[in-house]
Symmetry: C3
Subunit: 428 residues, 3 copies
């Protein structure tokens, strides 16, 4: 599965996305090879809360030529070279003027930074600082062949229908150009997850949204305000393809079921706990879902946290930075979280006075004494001990500090042999 | 006192105990030199909750001889050599077959492990891995002269009657053979404590139980189910004779008075705080007392925690591993906990506006300025400050983070000089 | 301001203060150059709660001469040489007898300790241990020209009247002789603060009290018992002029507004958080304010905590130990705490659905992408996110872990542009 996600990410990587324009449409078109994602359009000029849908931005070409005619900056080499939403320019100018429009990273001199200017009229180029230092005192031909004109903001939406109309929101931002972890990784993982889930019958309905950062989630919220009460749980995914210990940021409410499940989830074969961080209003689109007027139970899941890794928003966030194996462990982690949402029932111990004799049921070794107890045995004991009718499997996972998946497997085995009963599913 | 406990442990050590049989009876007989412990019998075949009392096991001899007639394993050298509850065997067999019944510890090659097979029909020998490697390819004469037949499970019970019918349960498991810390230490300490308390008038009644692990505590629970509501507090003791920082594991409820007292208790002359651990359903007989159908306020007190020390369940858990001085500090620690149960009253400051002038009462040095305040003075200040009628001595010990014994001594002195009044005793 | 506070501390330093007598009167007289502090008198012999106002102590001279007529100890060289409240002595005595009245610090052999004997009849000298060792076996002429006779205990009181009759208590003890940090620093800082506040209109009234330790605060409490319910917040200041990370000790209640504000305050240009300590009944006059009969919301603010620094209560606590720059940062810290008391209002987000487009209001950079977010931007986001009508600025500061001053500045800017409304001031 990690390999499949990686291959999709590779297909999405070269596209020059922005918050509007052809890039987003091309990205959704590729996703449609996997799932029937709907393409929603919102016209430029429409108000969404405190914002206005901007004009649609089209980029055809952009470069800077020196007086010898050599292209010293060329959009076709990397779409990061052009600041996103740059206005058209076609002028000759001296180096001194050009320099006021060039962004570099002196501390990371080989990397091209990623810059945007969505809600203003500006233009700029981004380049490696080492290349920047080589620019001679010359007269440069600056060409930015772009266009901003009324059109549409576009986002993708896909619904996996479950038994309940209560929904789980799964969101990835679609507005970044050739940046692999941020967020080809999230787009590819959610697309493959949606495809994988086609075969599954679920309790919840799962709503996958692929929308431009901020303005896209706001547009979705504005279009769906009447039924936000159906959102039972949600997760924003980004930067999910590198090898760091996963980071989960709690929802604004701080103790919703998805927050609690994240703390009971483990990652990879080494079963590493996620680093759990309190909510803060800075980040990705969970900012909008968790604004005080909505306050939805939506968390943010990442491997490396945005803004903290050196590759962040630079040309080093490329296809070498994300790995199939990490995408695979991230996928399993998200799937485990969904399994926990789907499988949080409340057990009742039918033999609550003392421990039952587990060896009678084939659940305990008949030879005792000098040995370490297995995790599975410990999970049996925890489930039995806490199955007083007041604790769901999630409660038991929290108190035992054991992974939800381990507790759920133990509970299934105890249910099978008749030692516990199922008092029912907990939706929230 | 440490010396007396150690001497009793030395008497108990050689006996080959198991969950039934002569070893338990012999152990109780020795205890009767100290206290009038009653010997309770429960017939084989009786159901106790999900379990059945097993047949009584008798061991007369067990050995393995090589073809030259030399005993290469001999039960009479160490009762750990025979896996507990081994069925009778009297056969000649090649090394290859014998090996499938031998348990060793390759990582601790000089130690004999302790193994059991209570609830199945199996047999086995335990030996040092270094000796195991010396076994030649030979034909061996295997003799296990044991017997399992209907009889009784036996446990000891002793009541120290106090003014109240509310009881404090003190429990040590009696089923381990020649293992000194686990649990000759607990048996000897509780026996000596019961003898020591004969002279004392107490509020609570104290019920001492010496029973085989799991099946013994279950049998006691089954016999006493009608009056479990009288158990106000309880403590399981094991591995209480080594020199480690004591470990206390909270009861299932997690914040009962005995749990709170453990956190306010100190050990030894260095006044070391106990390491307090949250409840977990793995351990000794507190598992049964804390099962969801009973949920009694019973904690586990140990020095080294079971399973964590290299000597655990091996021949290295011998009389050199436990020390009179450690048994002495453990005794004082348990006695301090009992003193706290017996002495948790609520003080009322009779001079609550400002501090009283302690030097008037001889409770404060008249020379001030450059000096460290003594712990006793600090204890006076804490008791006075928190004696608003809402805090018991235990509450004060918790908030001040001072040992209960220190707070209780300060409160006694303040009561004596009339600065506080006693609003009464808190039973729970 | 640090310089001004330091200069006042320098004027107060040489005076020989004690809990009664000329030193306190002289100190208040100097303060009157800054503010109209009232001098309150309480006659000797009056009961205050469990205490009695002692006789007034006057010291004229004190020395020890050796047989050659040389003064080996001389009060006029340092007022620390004489134990405070020493009774008159005029006797010749051998070294052996003299030694029983001499206090030294063997571990700090160059420093003179500070000792007191307020509520007894005793006498003593304090000296450097190195000088003590030089005393020859001689006959010494011991002269202590002091007097204890009925008079008055004196304390200073100054009220800055605000709009409300609810008061903020600001307290510094006035009874220590030539010790700079403990507490010329506190006396000088509060005096300069009171002078500085003359120009300010405040909501609260601010009551400044300069009184002798323990007996002085008790006397004030006894005189004002009928209106203690007006004390809304309070702070005891001492040891406030050295360079340590500030220490704040919570009030007895533990979560009053002043306690919460202390945790949201920062010190100095490096914005260092205060070390917050739980209440304990040992310390300065907060002991009396926080006794169970009053239980006022009063905390203790210090730089180095009393008793923990080597200069404490020795001659090394001199004018070199306190520094103008530290007094300046301490002043700003106290002022920030007062600003928080005065400025804790509750904002309401008028654009609560999603984030408002901050760049429209000039509150966010129009160029995005690779950059660290500024603290101010983060403060905008926190205020907007938590302005649901249920959170005051102090609540927001606590949850965001950002300094109150930063949150307050952000809220002021958001209010200015109309993104939030002010739902009103929180008094407690």
């Amino acid at each position: 599965m990690g390999q499949a996600i990686y291959m999709l990410a590779c297909r999405l990587f070269p596209i020059c996305r922005s918050i509007t324009g052809k890039g987003v449409r091309d990205t959704i078109r590729i996703m449609r090879d996997y799932i029937d994602v709907e393409c929603r359009e919102v016209p430029s000029g429409i108000r969404v809360f405190d914002w206005t849908i901007p004009d649609e931005w089209t980029v055809r070409d952009a470069y800077v030529k020196d007086s010898s005619g050599r292209k010293v900056i060329d959009f076709s080499a990397s779409n990061l070279h052009l600041m996103s939403y740059s206005i058209p320019v076609r002028r000759v100018m001296p180096l001194a003027e050009l320099k006021t429009h060039i962004y570099t990273l002196p501390a990371q001199p080989d990397l091209i930074p990623y810059k945007t200017a969505y809600y203003t009229d500006a233009w700029g180029f981004c380049m490696a600082h080492r290349e920047f230092l080589k620019l001679r005192d010359d007269v440069y031909d600056v060409v930015i062949d772009t266009e901003k004109r009324p059109g549409h903001l576009v986002y993708g939406e896909y619904l996996h229908a479950g038994a309940s109309k209560k929904e789980v929101l799964l969101y990835a931002h679609i507005c970044h150009p050739s940046l692999a972890n941020d967020n080809c990784s999230g787009l590819a993982l959610l697309t493959c997850l949606a495809a994988y889930m086609k075969a599954a019958s679920t309790h919840y309905s799962y709503r996958f949204i692929f929308a431009p950062g901020t303005i896209g989630s706001l547009a979705w919220l504005a279009n769906n305000e009447h039924r936000l009460s159906d959102i039972a749980h949600g997760l924003v995914l980004s930067c999910i393809g590198d090898g760091a210990v996963p980071n989960y940021k709690r929802s604004r409410r701080g103790n919703t079921m998805i927050d609690r499940i994240a703390a009971c989830t483990r990652c990879g074969d080494e079963s590493i706990p996620l680093t759990i961080k309190d909510f803060s209003p800075y980040g990705y689109d969970e900012r909008q879902f968790c604004s005080p007027g909505f306050d939805l139970p939506v968390g943010l899941l990442q491997r490396s946290a945005f803004g903290t890794f050196p590759e962040y928003h630079t040309s080093a966030d490329n296809l070498d930075f994300i790995r199939p194996e990490h995408l695979g462990t991230s996928f399993r982690m998200v799937k485990d979280m969904i399994d926990a949402l789907e499988g949080n029932w409340t057990p009742l111990n039918l033999s609550p006075k003392g421990e039952p004799q587990l060896s009678k049921y084939g659940l305990f070794s008949v030879i005792g004494g000098h040995k370490t107890n297995s995790d599975r045995t410990l999970a049996y004991l925890w489930v039995l001990n806490l199955s007083d009718g007041h604790n769901s499997l999630l409660d038991i996972s929290e108190r035992s500090k054991m992974p939800f998946s381990e507790i759920a497997a133990a509970a299934a085995a105890l249910l099978e042999v008749g030692l516990i009963a199922n008092l029912g599913f907990t939706e929230q």
